[in-house]
């Protein structure tokens, strides 16, 4: 049984400025998706997969 895990050879540090900008953008995407989920739940009942819901 191969139990060797893949390794990131060159461990690049995260660029904080870029990451914060990107996180802000993705956070807005998640907020919009949450609004959609809430609307859908009002219309069709509660989703059975709320694990990754931004507002959960």
């Amino acid at each position: 049984m191969n139990t060797k895990l893949p390794v990131e050879k060159k461990k690049e540090k995260i660029n904080k400025t870029k990451f914060i900008d990107l996180a802000k953008k993705v956070r807005e995407i998640f907020e919009k998706e949450s609004e959609y989920v809430q609307k859908e739940e009002k219309r069709n009942g509660i989703s059975n997969t709320p694990r990754a819901d931004f507002l959960a």
């Binding site: 895990l5 690049e12 995260i14 995407i29 694990r51 990754a52």
Partner: protein, 165 residues
């Protein structure tokens, strides 16, 4: 203040892998400044950050168009580029976990079984980081470390788990 990392966590996870649950990617969205420091500290100490397809799928789903999908994917890849393969041993481990969880398994999300199955697959080299501390019971998993994250209102608590012998 940032995330409070136990000193022993760094030394014992050196050259090992830390498996990230979906809630880690979500929390890093909310607090990117502190999480950048946290991730970079782990990387500097040769701890590989990894995840699995089910977590990636949970994170990416619901993107309304290609640009939003790509932004989400790019964000995730900033944290980790390593997605552990789901092979037949992992699948076999999922079935073994179903038996071990017994009736409690009814309330467990599919991704959690796969996270646990990967811990079994790479026992001794892979640890799980999650805020979802209810789904990894002590009869199956060892809670190895606790990472606290004090916030202006309340404290987020993360568990670092390994599979039990």
């Amino acid at each position: 203040m940032g995330l409070v990392i136990p000193r022993e966590l760094i030394s014992s996870l050196k050259n090992k892998h830390l498996l990230l649950d979906t809630n880690i990617f979500i929390d890093a969205l909310l607090h990117p400044n502190d999480f950048t420091d946290f991730f970079n500290t782990l990387k500097e100490n040769n701890i590989d950050l990894v995840t699995i397809d089910l977590v990636k799928i949970e994170f990416l789903r619901g993107a309304q168009d290609d640009p939003t999908y790509k932004s989400k994917e790019q964000y995730l890849q900033n944290i980790t580029k390593i997605i552990l393969p789901t092979d037949e041993i992992v699948i076999k481990n999922v079935y073994e976990l179903l038996r071990k969880y017994r009736e409690f398994g009814k309330t467990i999300a599919m991704a959690d079984f796969y996270l646990g199955a990967n811990l079994m697959r790479y026992k001794g080299n892979l640890y799980l980081l999650t805020r979802n501390t209810k789904e990894f019971p002590s009869n199956i998993f060892n809670l190895k470390y606790i990472v606290n994250y004090p916030l202006p209102k309340g404290i987020f608590t993360y568990g670092v788990y390994e599979i039990k012998s």
